[in-house]
Every structure is written in C-alpha cells, then in structure tokens.
C-alpha cells in the first residue's frame, strides 16, 4: 500500500500570510469561524476571502450580511481597492443583506428559519457559489427570542452548509469568556481563527491566531496583521525554519580598505551587517558607502530612515562626497522615512515587509535599528528583530543595520542581544585622548570569512571614508593628531638613524682603505725581503761555481790524479 498522506482539501484565501500559516487556506467545503472584538477586521477578512476567491481562484461567493447593507459594504471595501459592485454585476458575488428588527416582529407559535436557508440556497445556486460568508450570524439572537429554536436551526444551518459543499466563513463577536458571544464555536468546529486587537503604550497591534484546525497542522502562534491598502496582510514569520539558502557571493562595502579587512571582498550577499557605535561615529556614512556601491552595481536599495529625512541624509552624505540623489532619481534607491513612534513595532515590521515586497531591493538599510526597536519592550524587540532578519535572509537581501550605542553603555553588549543574529559586526568607537575624539573601527566578527583583527582609524573626508592604520606603540593605540605627532617623531628618528648608518658606512670605508694601505705596505716589505733573500742565494751559487772551477784548474796544473 502506498503511504501517501491524504491532505485535507484546502481553499486558498489569497490573503497574504494566512495561507502560509494554515498550510494552504481554509478547509474546503467546511465552515470556518472567524471571531474577534469589534473593529478587528472580521468583516474585511471575510470579504477579502470572497473577493479573492472570485477574482483569483474563480470561486464565486455569497456574502450574507446581517449588519451592513450591500451599499455600505461596497463602500467600505472600495477603500481597500475592491470593486464589489462590479463583481456583483459580473455575477461573481452575491450580497444579501438580512435585516432583523425585533420590534417589527411578533412571535406566535412554532417556526423555523427555513426562509434563511432558502435565501442562502437561492443565492448559492444562482451563481454556483463555492464560498459563503455569514457576517455576523449572531445578530439573529437579537432578532428572535426563542433561542432554543435558533440554536437548533444554527446547528442545522452549519450541517446544511457542509452538505452544500461550500467553504464558509462565519464571523462572531468575541464574548466575555468564550470565543463568541453566543458560543458559535460549538457549531463550527473545523477551523477557528481568532482576531485580537491590543493597545500597548497607546499603540494598537492586531494579531491573528488559528485556534484550531481540525485535520491539519497549522501555525499556532499569534501573528500580527495589518489592514493595508491591499487588504489584510499577515506576517507569518516566527514559524520560519532556519533553512535559508546562503550565498557565497561577496559584495563590496564601498570602502576599499574595509573590503581589504574582509579578505579583500566585502560582505556576503544576503548577510546581516550590524554597524554599532556612539552618536556621530560615522555609522550612516558606512551605510551610505555601501548604498553607493550597490547602486553603482545597478542594484536596488531600500533605505529605512527613522531619524533623518531623505533630504537630510542626501545633504549629509554629499558632505563626504557621496551623491545619493542621483540614485534616487535613477530609481535604484528608495527612501522610506518615518518616525518610529508613529506605529507599533509590528506595524513597522509589516510596513517594512510591504515595502520590500513592492520595491524588491537587493539591499536594505535600517538606520538606526535601535530607534526602530525602541518602541517595543526588550522581549518584543528581540523577536521583532529576529523576524526582521528572517524576512531579509529568506529573500537574500543584504541588510545593514546601524545601531546607536548610548554613551556610557558597554559598547559590545549591544541592544537587546541582537548581536548573535548578526553575520558581520562593525564597531565604531570613539577614542578620546590628547584633547580630541577620533573614530576607530573594529571588525568584531564576520562569519564565514577570514577577516582582519586590526583596529583601524576611521576618517571621514570630503571624498569619502578612509581607514588608516592606527599607531600601535608602547604608549598604546594612537589616533588623530597623536598619531600624526608620533609619525613625525618616527620620521625624525628614522632620519637620525639613516644618518648614523651613513656615517658608519663611511667610517668603515675609511678603515677598509687604511687596512688596504697597510696590507700594501706589508706586501712591499715582504717583496723587498724576498728580493734580498733571492739575491743572497744567487750570489752564493755563483761563488760555489767559481770555487769548483778554481779547484779543477789547480789540479790539472799540479798533474795530480
């Protein structure tokens, strides 16, 4: 027997993120309960489900509204870019407004809700609907006094919906202790989605949670969602596994010396870079260099600024010789400047996500990430950052986060312990001394590459950032003018040394010459001696010969033998 697992059939909602956490949408042919407090977007979620079903998945739908008229609905939805009237005209959607007014109704004896079934059945049949929304069926409880009948009929309704095979969303208002005021969760037990709206520090965040999903695995966390111009947008980030594909491609930092510190090639593409430092230490400038380099390569960069406006950044970077405006004009660079306190962190994150999805950059700058995270508490900030890094990594986006370290804080114990999530960490540090502050750059870590352990002095000039070797001597690390002074002293010392060497060389030469002269004199002396000895020897030999000759002649004259 083949062990193929039968997956529960699911219908895509088309709602960004929701299909991810439900593993493919809502259960096909079954009702799903969407509950939550007022104003959290139940109707919108349901409507988006219908509209996207009708437009993207060719599944017509019936919207049975118990609260808003068709006209009100279409007006509300139009602000999100859906043309409900047009869809109604094309017979892709039927909107049926059910009006229940207790004061106009007298109850006399037994009844049932067959009329509701007939209306719904008729609407479904006329357009062959596959999707149905009942929003909010609980209104019936205020219209009819006999709750026994009502509950029996609701039970029948949900079974009937299943029999019809339509994928339905039932909305329900949140109750005090229960998910819905009238306990609808008792009837709709296949899939329950809970929408929540919380206000923390005057900032509202909306979250969605799949409470249950019978016969299917699903993300169980609370996921923040946004109501944007394009409908509901969900961030299913915390469910991500660490399975991003990493690139071995390297991208230049825009500062040649910094590239050199990273094995001559720069950052990895898709890596996360943290640039931390105190105020005014040049974090933005390093980012700007990278932006410039990336744009020159023809890539797209999205710059999220939380402290400065676009024009301010452009002006400031011009002062170090970087023209960012040209890239903005060419469309390679886009700024997104907002005040962090404007929304909650989740909303920021969602906005970020939206922007990234629209612009599709290869690199993202977040300047500074600390301000961005400051609106959340520490725990929230870390998970937020984690999700942010995850989004960027999964899209292979190189990210530069600048991070402001408060003066006096321990420099390397950065903000909310985010450093462990970072691939490359540049620390900019002010070195004080000698009546001045100078910047020093350290490469604290850089995963997966050989990198320099050297402290460099970081200078901002009108033609860009420069990294200079610092003076490391017995007096410690010297930067700025102290380094200058020390270098001058070194130069002087080297001059003296050179002169001494020359002097010594001359002396040696002289000595050599003197020695050579002595050698010559001695050799001359030796030669004279040799001449004298040789002369004596030859004189002696001559004398011997003469004596022998003399003896011979004398003997012959005596005639002796």
């Amino acid at each position: 027997m083949a062990k193929t697992r039968i997956q529960l059939p699911k219908s895509l909602t088309g709602i960004q993120g929701l299909d991810d956490i439900t593993g493919g949408g809502l259960p096909t042919g079954r009702p799903t309960l969407v509950c939550g407090s007022a104003g959290c977007g139940k109707t919108l979620l349901a409507m988006e489900f219908l509209v996207r079903g009708a437009t993207q998945y060719n599944e017509p739908g019936v919207f049975m509204s118990f609260e808003e008229t068709a006209q009100e609905l279409s007006q509300n939805i139009a602000s999100l870019g859906f043309d409900l009237n047009e869809l109604v005209k094309q017979k892709k959607i039927v909107v049926d407004y059910v009006y229940v007014e207790r004061s106009e109704i007298e109850e006399s004896g037994e009844y049932d809700l067959e009329g509701l079934f007939i209306r719904l059945g008729h609407a479904i049949d006329t357009i062959h609907a596959k999707r149905v929304v009942l929003d909010t069926i609980e209104t019936l409880f205020s219209g009819f006094s006999n709750t026994l009948i009502l509950r029996a009929e609701l039970n029948r309704l949900f079974r009937w919906l299943k029999d019809k095979g339509v994928t339905a969303i039932i909305t329900g208002e949140r109750g005090d202790d229960t998910l819905t005021r009238q306990g609808l969760e008792e009837y709709v037990s296949d899939c329950v989605i809970f929408l929540d709206q919380r206000v923390n520090d005057q900032i509202t965040t909306r979250r969605l949670r799949v409470v249950k999903y019978r016969g299917s695995i699903h993300g169980t966390n609370e996921y923040p969602y946004l109501i944007t111009e394009n409908g509901i947008s969900l961030l299913p980030i915390t469910s991500l596994m660490l399975d991003q594909i990493v690139s071995t491609e390297r991208v230049s930092t825009g500062i040649p010396e910094l590239d050199k510190m990273m094995g001559g090639q720069g950052y990895y593409r898709g890596s996360s870079v943290l640039i931390s430092g105190t105020a005014g230490s040049g974090k933005s400038s390093i980012s700007a260099h990278y932006v410039n380099a990336a744009c020159q390569r023809g890539e797209r960069v999205l710059y999220f600024a939380f402290e400065e406006s676009q024009s301010q950044i452009v002006r400031n970077m011009r002062s170090i010789g970087i023209d960012l405006e040209q890239w903005v004009n060419k469309g390679n660079l886009r700024f997104h400047a907002t005040r962090p306190t404007l929304y909650g962190t989740e909303l920021h994150l969602s906005n970020l996500y939206e922007e990234i999805n629209i612009f599709k950059p290869t690199s993202v700058i977040i300047d500074p990430v600390t301000t961005f995270l400051s609106v959340a508490d520490e725990k929230g900030a870390k998970s937020m950052f984690l999700r942010l890094v995850d989004i960027l990594k999964s899209d292979q986006i190189t990210a530069l986060f600048s991070s402001l370290t408060a003066g006096g804080a321990v420099l390397e114990a950065t903000e909310v312990g985010i450093s462990s999530l970072i691939d490359t960490w540049l620390l900019l540090r002010d070195i004080e001394g000698n009546g001045e502050r100078n910047r020093a750059l350290y490469l604290i870590k850089s995963r997966g590459m050989a990198h320099s352990n050297q402290v460099r002095e970081f200078r901002l000039t009108d033609h860009g950032a420069e990294l200079v070797n610092v003076y490391v001597g017995p007096k410690g690390v010297l930067t700025g003018s102290a380094r200058h002074v020390q270098e001058e002293q070194d130069k002087a010392a080297r001059l003296v040394q050179r002169q001494e060497i020359a002097f010594k060389q001359n002396e040696l030469e002289r000595k050599r010459q003197a020695t050579e002269a002595q050698i010559a004199a001695l050799q001359a002396e030796l030669k004279a001696e040799q001449d004298r000895v040789e002369m004596a020897i030859s004189q002696a030999r001559t004398r011997d010969a003469l004596q022998a000759e003399e003896r011979g002649s004398m003997a012959s004259s005596r005639q002796t033998d």
Binding site: V100, E106, S108, E114, L116, I118, R119
Partner: protein, 111 residues
C-alpha cells in the same frame, strides 16, 4: 390545500360594509406544505374571518417555488405573516397558534 403563490382573494362577503373600514393586505410566506404552514394558514383564516371579515386579502407565497421573493420582505423565519396594509408593516412569525400575539401584530387587539 391551495397554497398558490398567485393572489388568492379570500375576500369575505360582498363589498365593504362600512366605507371607513380599513382593507387588510396580508402575505403569508411558507416553504412547501409543512404541518406548520398548514396550521398557520388555518389559524390565519380563522382569525381573519373573526376579526376582519370582508376586508382582507391573503396572498400566499411559497418560497420553495419563488425563493427570490424571500429577500424582498426580509423573510428568515417560516412561516411568516406580513401585514402589508394598513401601515406600518408588521411581521408575525410562527404557526399563529397564539391568537393574542397575532392580534397584537395585526393591531387588532385593542378593539
């Protein structure tokens, strides 16, 4: 049982006895010939004969045959009696077994 959706003027004896007597226009919504519908119709007939003899019209609408008519009068419950005239429009749901409530619904109670 005649539950035709067409106008079935169950008008009582000859023309209006009194000119000022108000004409009642009633509509009974049913879904097929269920016991509840039949009871409702019988009860309605009885009440009308007793209280509105000669000045009422009953139209019976079977939603199984004309489902599209349900939304016009905002019908949910079956059976539903709608008093179209005289104004204001009122709805009475159920099999009309509680005579008191029906009379309240038809604004006939005080008389």
């Amino acid at each position: 049982m005649k539950t035709k959706q067409s106008l079935s003027p169950e008008t009582g004896p000859p023309e209006e006895k009194s000119a000022k007597a108000v004409q009642y226009e009633l509509r009974l919504y049913v879904a097929g010939q269920t016991p509840k519908s039949l009871t409702a119709f019988a009860n309605l007939k009885k009440i009308c004969e007793e209280h509105l003899a000669g000045r009422y019209q009953i139209e019976i609408i079977d939603l199984l045959k004309d489902p599209q008519l349900a939304s016009g009068d905002q019908i949910l419950a079956i059976p539903t009696l709608v008093k179209k005239l005289p104004e204001p429009i009122r709805k009475i749901i159920g099999d009309l077994s509680n005579m008191e409530r029906v009379l309240v619904g038809l604004d006939l109670h005080k008389k």
